[in-house]
């Protein structure tokens, strides 16, 4: 019916609509941005939610262990906690942790240095980029622990072998992520850097590194996790090094003694350390940098 009428025919489209101007928009809507309630704000905090999650997991553990009632297979959470505190008090667990962490940091830092050199070479030249691509494709999938037998022949039964394995664990993922990050730095930022006449060094430190920081942090995190895994595995195989046993050795030894709560305590220590580094170090780093800058939501 509408189609038969010409569109310009006003009367056919209903009565005329007068202009309408509102000089007094309604008031009384209260506050536009109303603050959230206390409970909502508490649950908005990731730490609160995650702590609750951890408590829930501990409760499930305790419940299951009690129902199973076999401390040799699966000790309760309370027994594990007791063994954990005992280990700390007798300094056995504590010194094992110190040994592991010291070795870990040595390997990690050395791995980062190697990764930095490799990335610098890859960023500066095309040969370097090809080399990095090829080496990473070859070595990144290779489990670090598979190199341990070789490392023991090359570096002997000292810390050297473990550090070699750690460097291998850290280096490739950090180098790969950093290089990928550099390559994906926006063309506009690069041109801005050149426009304001940055020197080559300043260009890297003031444009490339901050621009690639999301990838670099990812690389650091992956490298850290790989290193931690490789270390515990190496210690399990390797046992005592010159400076005393690490956490892996602590776990292995207590298994031999059938001190299962202590085995769990050792594992708990590994987990707690991982959580702490992830949440304290890396999370803080992310919040201070890429989140604050809106580069990651």
């Amino acid at each position: 019916m509408v189609g038969e009428l010409p569109m310009s025919d006003e009367t056919a489209r209903g009565p005329e609509r007068p202009d309408y101007i509102n000089d007094n928009p309604p008031t009384g809507f209260g506050v536009v941005a109303k603050p959230l309630g206390l409970l909502e704000r508490i649950f908005d905090r990731g730490e609160v939610r995650k702590t609750l999650m951890l408590i829930a997991l501990a409760l499930v553990w305790e419940g299951y262990a009690r129902w199973l009632d076999n401390p040799l297979l699966f000790p309760t959470f309370i027994d594990t906690a007791r063994a954990f505190l005992q280990g700390l008090r007798s300094r056995e667990l504590l010194s094992a942790t110190v040994v592991s962490v010291t070795t870990l940091l040595q390997g990690y830092v050395l791995g980062l240095v190697c990764a930095a050199l490799l990335t610098a070479f890859a960023t500066a030249t095309r040969v370097g980029a090809d080399l990095l691509d090829t080496l990473t494709a070859m070595f990144n999938p290779l489990p670090s622990i598979a190199l341990l037998p070789l490392a023991m022949i090359w570096f002997g039964l000292g810390n050297g072998s473990i550090i070699f394995v750690l460097v291998h664990a850290v280096m490739w993922s950090v180098a790969l992520n950093t290089h990928t990050g550099f390559r994906s730095v926006s063309q506009t930022w690069r041109m801005v850097g050149q426009n304001y006449g940055l020197s080559r060094f300043a260009y890297v430190t003031r444009i490339l590194i901050p621009g690639a920081l999301p990838s670099i942090l990812t690389g650091l995190k992956i490298g850290w996790a790989f290193a931690w895994r490789a270390l515990i595995a190496a210690e399990l195989v390797f046992g005592v090094s010159s400076s005393g046993g690490g956490l892996g050795w602590f776990i292995f030894q207590n298994k031999n003694l059938l001190e299962i709560p202590s085995v769990f305590a050792g594992l708990l220590m590994v987990i707690i350390f991982g959580l702490a580094v992830e949440n304290l170090v890396f999370r803080t780093l992310e919040q201070r940098t890429i989140r604050r800058w809106g580069m990651q939501s």
């Binding site: 506009t188 930022w189 041109m191 801005v192 304001y196 621009g211 940098t289 800058w293 809106g294």
Partner: protein
Amino acid sequence: MATEVQKPLLDVDGVTLQYRARDHLVTATYRVSFSVRKSDRYVILGPSGCGKSTLLKAVGGFIKPVEGTITLGERQITRPGPDRVLVFQEFDQLLPWKTVEQNVLFALTSSGRLSGGEAVDRARHYIEKVKLTKFADSYPHMLSGGMKQRVAIARGMAMEPEILLMDEPFAALDALTRGQMQEELLQLWEDTRVTLLFVTHSIAEAVRIGNRILLLTPHPGRVRAELGSTGIDAIGADGRRLSARIESLLFEGEPDGRRAAHE
């Protein structure tokens, strides 16, 4: 008429630009010549594919011409430098890891233009000029698109470059903001008399911003015309508005153009 002829500030002479695409060597502009005088608002206008952005980047020193020369003052342009500051179309030209003030400061200090308190004063002065003093400590991701472009313009102007190169700086903005930004840019120009080289694909924008308008034809970019503008789309001697003249020059002026195809 002025008695002495003003020497051009920027001289582009027979410039041919080429760039390598995936598997072609593309000629972006072919033997383009024009010259910009001090305090000009010089607009390069053309449809997409006329190489206007490439031309601007060549003036910026990011691309080397395969033929012809570009001269600023007495020096031939060979590489990027802080005497020619580029304002981009993209909102991500601000460095996200720096606040508004730090972005402006970064430009001043890393180019060695100013340092210390002087740099801070200059940065604040130009941030105030673009009315963003309240947001000086905000990070770019907290700003709207128009505000980001204002920061970029403040950063460029704070350098007090010999020529400010603008690559469609308002193209990604909504129409209302764009109109406002054009107005603000003209006001800033009134205050500073900075030489502008402004690239756009919008005829209305060219007419409003420019005092000289260079028209380029596409594929590759060649000079079609250079016209004066008073900013109000005035009716010329031939009884047509400037925008209508530009349109006919760009689209109907081509021999055997679209009209032939329709007839």
